[in-house]
Every structure is written in C-alpha cells, then in structure tokens.
Amino acid sequence: MLVGLGMFFGVMCLVYWLWSKEQGGSVMMLAGMLLCFLPGSYYFWWSRRMRPRAEDDPKATQASGAGVIGTFPGTSIWPFTMGMGAFFVVLALVFGIWFLVPGIGLVGWALFGGTSEGRRGGKH
C-alpha cells in the first residue's frame, strides 16, 4: 500500500514538474514519494521474511495468537517529564535562552530514565 502510494506520488511529481516547472511543490512531492518508499520498502522486506502471522490468517483461532505480545509498561512518569522538557525548550524560543537549561535537562533526564526503564521492562 505504501509502495503503491509512493509510486503514485512519483508519477504525480513527474507530471507536476514537467507541467509547472515549479520547484517547491515538486520537491515536496518527491520527498513525499521517498517518505512512502522508506517505510513501505521496509514493510515489504519484512513481509517476505516473516512467518505467516495469525492476524493475517482469515481462519485463525484466538488460541493461535497465544503468547507474549510484548511488554507494556503500566505507568511511567518519563513521558510527562519529557513533555515538560520540550515545553521549556519551546519557551526558550520565545522568552529567553536560559529556558533551555531546565528544558534540555528535563529531556535528558527523561531520556535516561525512560531508556533504563525500558531495559528493566517497566512497571506493570
């Protein structure tokens, strides 16, 4: 689907470029095409290598999907910390460069905390 979308944008880009000779839009369409191809080809690459999944089997039973899906943290404070950090970084754009200190500090702290929480598997 994504590859198809990418090809569509490729064709559109070519038509638009040859017809309009306008750079801005052509570049954005080209980038749009590449943005489709990037995950699209990744998914395609994986879909060739994966075992058939229960969710794609029209006759799958619920039991066939049994097993560990993944680890989902129940609660985590780090998204909030990082959000506040990003908030301060943006405020630094407006009110003064010193806002970067708490901003980058909070983002860094959250990166560190979130990563180590991810390694432990998080709280449930």
């Binding site: 689907m1 994504l2 979308l5 569509f8 944008f9 559109m12 038509v15 638009y16 017809w19 309009s20 306008e22 801005g24 839009g25 954005m28 369409m29 980038a31 749009g32 943005l35 489709c36 995950p39 998914y43 229960a54 969710e55 794609d56 089997d57 029209p58 006759k59 799958a60 039973t61 619920q62 039991a63 066939s64 999907g65 049994a66 097993g67 560990v68 899906i69 993944g70 989902f72 943290p73 129940g74 609660t75 985590s76 404070i77 780090w78 998204p79 909030f80 990082m82 959000g83 506040m84 990003a86 908030f87 943006v90 405020l91 754009l93 407006v94 009110f95 979130g114 991810g118 449930h124």
Partner: protein, 566 residues
C-alpha cells in the same frame, strides 16, 4: 451475551496474573498512565475544552459582526480573535479530537490489541499536545497579544517587522509541539494497526474507522513534517535574519503558502477521515446492517488520501503563480471517492432498520451538512469561480459547512462511544435537543454567509459599511452561531445531568465491532476474552449466531439479511 453457540474462546493474555491492574490513582494516574484509554480520555477532555474556548472566540466574532461599525472589540483584538479561533479549532480541537482522542481509545480495542504499540510515546504525544495548547493560548497574556496574522500565517505578514511580539512566537512554538505530538501519534497508530491485530483480524476485516485512522496516520506522517520544517524556517526568518520568505533578501514569500498548504490540505483530510470513519460505524450499527461496499469504502479513503497531497495550491489560485489546470483537475477528482463514500453511507441505511438515536441523527446531520460543504468545494475547485469568491465569506461558509459537519460527526461519536469510554450513557432527550440546535444553527449560520460571499463581503473584516443586505444577513448568521453555542451548552448540561446516571452495559447499541465485546469501560489491557473473528463485525456474529456472516456487505447479502431482520 445470550444464545452462545460456540464456547467463548479465552484470549491468552500475555500476563494472566495481572488481570486486575493496580496503578496509582488520582492526579498521579493521569500524569503517569500509559494506558491508551486514560490518555485518550485526557485527549478527549482537553480537546472538548479547546472546542469550548474556540467556540467562545467564535461567538465574540459573530457578536461583533452582528451590526455594521460595531465596537464590541477593537480591530486589533478582532485580528487576534479570528486567528486564535481558527488556530484553536483546527490545531487544538478538531485534529487532536479526531486522531488523538477517539482514535486512541477505540482503535486498539477495535482490532483486539491490549494497548497502543508504543504506550509511552503515546503519553508523550498527549503531553506535547497539552503543552502546545498552553503555549499557543498563553499568547493572550503577553505584551502585544496573541498571534494576529490569521491561522495561515502568510508571509510577509508573519515576519518580525509586520508582526512583532511574543504572541506570534508562542503560536509557532505551540504548533511545533502539537506538530510533533501528531507525528508521534501517526507513528503509533500505524505500528499498532500493522502489528497488534488480534488473530483472524485481517486487514480487510478491520472496521472502517480503523482503516480511516491508518490512512490518516500515513497522511500525518507525510504532511506534518512539512509544517514543522516551514515553522522552523519562519522562526529563522523572524529571529535569525534569514530571508527564506522575504523578497528583500532574495527569498520567496509564496513559498510559505506552498509549504503551509502542502500540509494544510492533507490536514483537512486528517480531520475529516477519522470523522468519516466514526460516521460509517454509527450508520452501520444504527441501521443494523453491515457497511455497504466495504472495500469500495477502503479504496475511496485511500484515493482521497493519495489525491489530497496533490491539491494544495487550490488555496492559492489567485496568487497567479500556480498551475491552475493541474490543481483544478486534482481537486475535482477528490469529489469522486467522496461521492462513493456518500452513496455507500446511503446504501448502508437503505432498507436497514434505522434507529434514530442521537448518534444516528448526528451522523445524518453530518451527511447533509457535508454534502453542502462538499458541493460548494467543487465550485471553489474551479479557478474562474474561485477568482470571484476568493477571500470572501463564500469560502468561509464553505469551510464552516465542512467543519460543522465534522463537528456533528464528532458529537455523534461521543454519544456512540461515550458509553464505552465511561460506562454511562448520555441522556437521549437532551441529546436530541442538542442535535436540532446544532443542525438548524449550522444551516442558519452558513447559508447567509454563502450569500454574503456572493455579494462581495470580504473575510477577516471587523467592521463593514452600512449596507442593508449585508447587515440583515450578518444578523441571521449571528443567530445561527448563537444556536450552535446553545447546542454546546446543551451538551455540557447533558454531561452534568447524565453523570453516572444511566449505566450502559457492555453493548448498548448491539454493536458490530470488537470494542462492544469487552466491558464498559474496558479493563486494563482491554480484553478478558475475544470471539472468533470471521468477518468485519465479530461482535455481531457472536451475538447473532443464526446469521450468516455477511462478508463486506455485498448488496445481495445485505438485502437478504435485512429481509431476515424485518
């Protein structure tokens, strides 16, 4: 949950010992939760609050325009008001409501997933959205006031000479934050839908709402980075002395318009496609029929998504530097898949047992209002007509028909899924009052604006000369806006009145899709068990075992089934 033929199949939870979730409660729960339902509720509450704030701006704008030469607000205040009305409604209400609030709660449940693929990223999305909203709105409290260059921030009006002050910078900053929030949500939704579906939930059994959210997520990923890049360029122009958008330094002001609308037009579909999905679900459930033309619906949505990235310059016809025929053809083409959807919605209702609940009324109101907005959109896709109506109230009316239709769809979705989110139904009687206020108000509000546009009233003016026909029509439009405001009051009254009054049960509407299989509200990680998934409406199949599964609602099967029903 009666008449069970097959024994229920127990879904093997990945952590069976944690059926009951023991997490923090109170404010700490809202701050630290990574549960998609809690985050979705935060999104819902915040975005509805934003709707009320944006609505208050709208009422002040309409009050100002009720009479000519009114002096309720100053000209500068009026500029701030219409800028922030547009910005709040588009960036902070409709977008986050569509792909943040209901998508977050409903999509994982509809595909039988325990949570979103990246729960902590999901929480981060919400915090960026909230801080972005606070950043943008705090513009009202700084010297010089909030941003006042219109929600489109055209260069060179938005540069540091024409719009000095912190308000504009706060607007840019708030958009950067909400932009990243949207991108993260897009990543999350895509990964969730590709990788966390329940066994048997193939791509072509996903509910239309989920399909639309997948396509919305891809559009977000294609469009929002462009806006973010543009905003950074704009900020550099304002503060670092670059001349990307200024002629003086060799830049191109119209480049901003290109970048903005390359995001801005897909954004319209980013708002609309989730609402289309909500309306599809509502119409199918309350007609007691499968979706008519399921695959056609999916491909129509895909086509809309693909075309939407090639139509941006139809907002720029009058700049004189865009390729008119290309963008006109592309814009007209979008009418085709949208028309397919329109007929599919009507086809779903056709010979169904239509139950006129509030949600269904809202969906039908959506159909009518969206048709008006869509058809006037086709007029505007034609350059000669656009030259005549550009920057008049005709465009304003067209756009408001579309978004008020989306508003009805959103309200319908709150009536439809609200019981699943909270466990309690809303009062139907007040809901119907709300619907009629909203529906009549919208038409009374938009139709005079169409005529005003054709009579030449430009948009974004705070005062207008004494002109009998303009004054009369503006008065009517203001009455309509007041009715819409009253409908929102009715909605808030309904929430207060119905607060924990009508327990919903698991499946109050005899729903089709998996979210109606679990409890209301769903437990942590959503499901204790799942039914076999053999069609796109597994819950219905489970509750009505005598029915043949009508795959993709082909006409013959749909008609046979409606005959069996009646």
């Amino acid at each position: 949950m009666t008449d069970v033929l097959d024994p229920p199949v127990v879904h093997e939870s990945h952590e069976p010992e944690h059926e009951e979730h023991h997490g923090p409660t109170g404010i700490l729960k809202w701050m630290t939760s990574t549960d998609h339902k809690v985050i979705g509720m935060s999104y819902t509450i915040t975005s509805v609050l934003m709707m009320v704030i944006g609505g208050i701006f709208a009422e002040i704008i309409r009050a100002q325009l009720t009479t000519p030469n009114n002096s309720l607000v100053s000209l500068a205040q009026y500029n701030e008001l219409f800028t922030m009305h547009g910005s709040v409604m588009i960036y902070l209400f409709m977008g986050p409501f569509a792909f943040g609030a209901l998508a977050n709660i409903i999509v994982p449940i509809q595909i039988g997933a325990p949570d979103m693929a990246f729960p902590r990223l999901n929480a981060l999305s919400y915090w960026l959205y909230l801080t972005g909203s606070i950043t943008m709105l705090s513009g009202f409290f700084v010297a010089g006031g909030a941003a006042n260059f219109g929600w489109v921030a055209y260069a060179p009006l938005s540069n540091s000479v024409n719009t000095p002050g912190a308000g504009a910078d706060l607007w840019i900053g708030g958009l950067l934050l909400t932009g990243f929030s949207a991108i993260f949500t897009g990543v999350n939704l895509t990964a969730t839908i590709f990788y966390l579906r329940a066994p048997g939930m193939t791509m072509f059994r996903m509910p239309i709402f989920t399909w639309n959210l997948l396509i919305t997520a891809i559009l977000i990923l294609l469009a929002f980075p462009v806006l973010t890049a543009g905003l950074i360029m704009l900020y550099c122009d304002r503060h670092f002395g670059t001349h990307i958008f200024s002629v003086a330094g060799g830049g191109v002001p119209v480049l901003w318009q290109n970048i903005f609308w390359f995001w801005g037009h897909p954004e319209v579909y980013i708002l609309a496609l989730p609402i289309f999905g909500m309306v599809t679900e509502i119409i199918a459930v309350f007609s007691r029929k499968p979706v008519f033309g399921y695959k056609g619906m999916v491909f129509a949505t895909l086509t809309i998504g693909a075309l939407s990235l090639g139509v941006w310059a139809h907002h720029m016809f009058t700049t004189g530097v865009v390729l008119l025929p290309f963008f006109s053809i592309m814009s007209l083409l979008i009418a085709v898949p949208t028309g397919i959807k329109m007929f599919n919605w009507i086809g779903t209702m056709w010979r169904g047992q239509v139950w006129f609940s509030t949600a269904m009324l809202m969906a039908i109101g959506f159909l009518f209002t969206f048709l008006v907005g869509g058809i006037t959109g086709i007029y505007l896709a034609s350059p000669p007509l656009d030259f005549f109506t550009h920057d008049t109230y005709f465009v304003v009316a067209h756009f408001h028909s579309v978004v008020m239709a989306l508003m009805m769809g959103a309200m319908g979705a709150l009536y439809y899924w609200g019981p699943k989110m909270t466990g309690y139904l809303l009062n139907e009687r007040i809901g119907k009052v709300q619907f009629w206020l909203l529906f009549i108000g919208t038409q009374v509000f938009t139709f005079p604006m169409y005529i005003l546009g054709l009579r030449g009233m430009p948009r974004r003016i705070a005062i207008y000369p004494l002109h009998p026909s303009w004054q009369y029509l503006n008065g009517v439009a203001s009455v309509g806006a007041m009715l819409i405001g009253l409908s929102t009051v009715a909605f808030l009254v309904n929430i207060a009145y119905s607060w924990k009054k009508y327990p919903a049960g698991d499946n109050p509407w005899d729903g089709h899709t998996l979210e109606w299989f679990t409890t209301s509200p769903p437990p942590h990680h959503n499901f204790y068990r799942l039914p076999q998934i053999r069609s796109e409406r597994p819950t219905w199949d489970y509750n009505h075992p005598g029915h043949q599964a009508a795959a993709h609602g082909h006409l013959a099967e749909a008609l046979i089934e409606s005959d069996v029903n009646s």
